[in-house]
């Protein structure tokens, strides 16, 4: 594992060069946020600002979410004529972010030739909420990484608390099967070993082993905290539809409030739309202000997709997503026969 600060230095040099040599018009990375344990997305256009770029255990935002909108053609034909030419964009990608970019290219949302992909082999990112839970009533006023990759947090009275990295990594990182980005133009840092890929399967099997009513109770208990703020959808790089079915009013498919049937349909529909498309970046769970692990359903669907159609999202730009394809002999045992 290459030390974060080394990568950070090389990242800054890379961005400075790309912007300075006009290889990119815009460079997307992470920057120190106003609160510790977090970073905030940075849109760089000037080489001199490259020193603002950060690479540390808090770079969890998936920057792929910002890319499709940079390349979206204006809906109005007249506007399209006067629209500026499409920019060339450099972007920092972790393993999961790179999978999102692959999937977006597959779905024709991104032009590969307008992207300079700077991949960083990712040792996993800290879940700020997990860290805050560990700190309890204390608040981190500053946070960093020690030589072993553990997290040092400075709390109110100046005391330094060390949090074991594994203890505060995001759940999604603990099951990352491809932490090293695949399709990048530039890769920083030595490759990182894949994680425990079977966690998702074990958890799904555990839930499946329970009776139907217990499964429903679990789903209900978890999702009844949902406040329908749409953060999970908005944070998802694969949710780029201009008009979401769940927002439509002619007709309205899902009620606007927090009646549980509406909440359930919202999450079922969202998960279903992600089946075979979700690149397991965890942006949805990270965005949820209620701290719900909204990955629950789509993780299961992705396992099904893998088992039935042998497909894993975000691995190859030339693969056809399974729900855009079919085979004459696809399984159909579930059909109702008279």
């Amino acid at each position: 594992m290459t030390a974060s600060h080394e990568i950070e230095t090389r990242l800054r040099e890379t961005a400075e060069r790309l912007l300075g040599e006009k290889k990119v018009d815009l460079f997307l990375g992470h920057e120190k946020a106003s609160l510790p344990l977090r970073t905030t997305p940075l849109f760089l256009t000037v080489a001199a600002d490259a020193a603002r770029l950060a690479w540390n255990p808090f770079c969890s935002p998936n920057l792929a979410v910002y890319l499709p909108r940079l390349f979206r053609a204006p809906a109005d034909a007249r506007e399209a004529k006067t629209a500026p030419p499409r920019p060339t964009v450099g972007v920092v990608l972790k393993g999961c972010d790179a999978r999102s970019v692959v999937a977006l290219i597959q779905e024709h949302q991104l032009p590969r030739d307008k992207l300079v992909l700077v991949g960083i082999a990712c040792p996993g990112m800290v879940d700020a909420r997990k860290a805050e839970r560990v700190l309890g009533l204390h608040e981190a006023l500053g946070a960093g990484e020690d030589a072993h990759g553990n997290i040092r947090a400075v709390v109110e009275d100046g005391t330094e608390v060390t949090l074991r990295r594994e203890q505060v990594l995001a759940d999604v990182c603990l099951e990352c099967r491809a932490p090293t980005p695949s399709i990048c133009d530039i890769v920083l840092g030595a490759a990182v070993e894949p994680r425990e890929a079977h966690v998702a399967r074990r958890q799904a099997e555990e839930l499946e082993s329970r009776p139907a009513d217990a499964r429903w109770a679990h789903f209900q208990q978890m999702m009844s905290k949902c406040i329908r703020c749409n953060a999970c959808r908005q944070a998802c790089p694969m949710c780029y539809c201009k008009d979401c079915l769940l927002d439509q009013t002619r007709p309205r498919w899902v009620g606007a409030g927090t009646d549980f049937s509406d909440v359930a349909i919202y999450h079922l529909a969202r998960a279903f739309h992600m089946a075979g498309r979700c690149t397991a970046c965890g942006a949805c769970a990270r965005a949820c202000p209620m701290g719900l692990d909204v990955r629950l359903l789509v993780r299961k669907l992705n396992l099904e997709v893998e088992d039935l159609y042998g497909y894993r999202p975000g691995e190859a730009v030339d693969a056809t997503p399974p729900l855009s394809a079919f085979a004459m002999d696809d399984p159909q045992e579930f059909l109702t026969e008279p």
Binding site: A212, D213, R215, L323, A325, P338
Partner: protein
């Protein structure tokens, strides 16, 4: 489908009869249902038919919406593989429905509440027996309580 055309409220349990919303593709299954009627084949009257151009047109949200609006089960029927009027709409639908059924099962909704089948324009008898089976299973399951929205 306009918002006002929604299945009426569930009746009292004593007189409860399952309500099944069937989404039938225009080219095969709807014609199959028509044939069942023309041939005077008896089947349970618990079914409400919505005609769609192709089983591939159905977004699973339609099925969720039907269940939320008080349907006790939904049935989707399209052309047999190879017979789709649009070549492959039913094959794309087959993948969707495979996953959708698994999803519902995973959260604890009885998979028998959403059923899928193929019925051709010449299979009036098959249509009637599928409906009979779906209604029978819905009756066994009892009223849909999990997804239905209470006023």
């Amino acid at each position: 489908m306009s918002q006002t055309q929604i299945v009426p409220e569930a009746a009292a349990p004593r007189t409860w009869e399952p309500k099944v919303v069937a989404f039938l593709c225009n080219w095969c299954s709807y014609a199959g249902a028509d044939l069942a009627g023309v041939s005077r084949i008896q089947y349970p009257p618990n079914i409400r038919i919505i005609r769609v151009p192709c089983s591939g047109r159905i977004n699973p949200v339609f099925l969720l919406r039907a269940l939320q609006s008080g349907a006790d089960a939904v049935l989707v029927s399209g052309c047999h593989p190879g017979d789709c009027h649009y070549i492959s709409g039913n094959l794309a639908a087959r993948r969707k429905f495979t996953l959708f059924r698994d999803l519902l099962k995973y959260v604890g909704i009885e998979p028998e509440r959403v059923q899928f089948t193929w019925v051709s324009a010449s299979e009036g008898g098959r249509f009637a027996s599928v409906v009979e089976k779906v209604v029978e299973q819905a009756r066994k399951l009892g009223p849909n309580t999990k997804l239905v929205k209470r006023a």
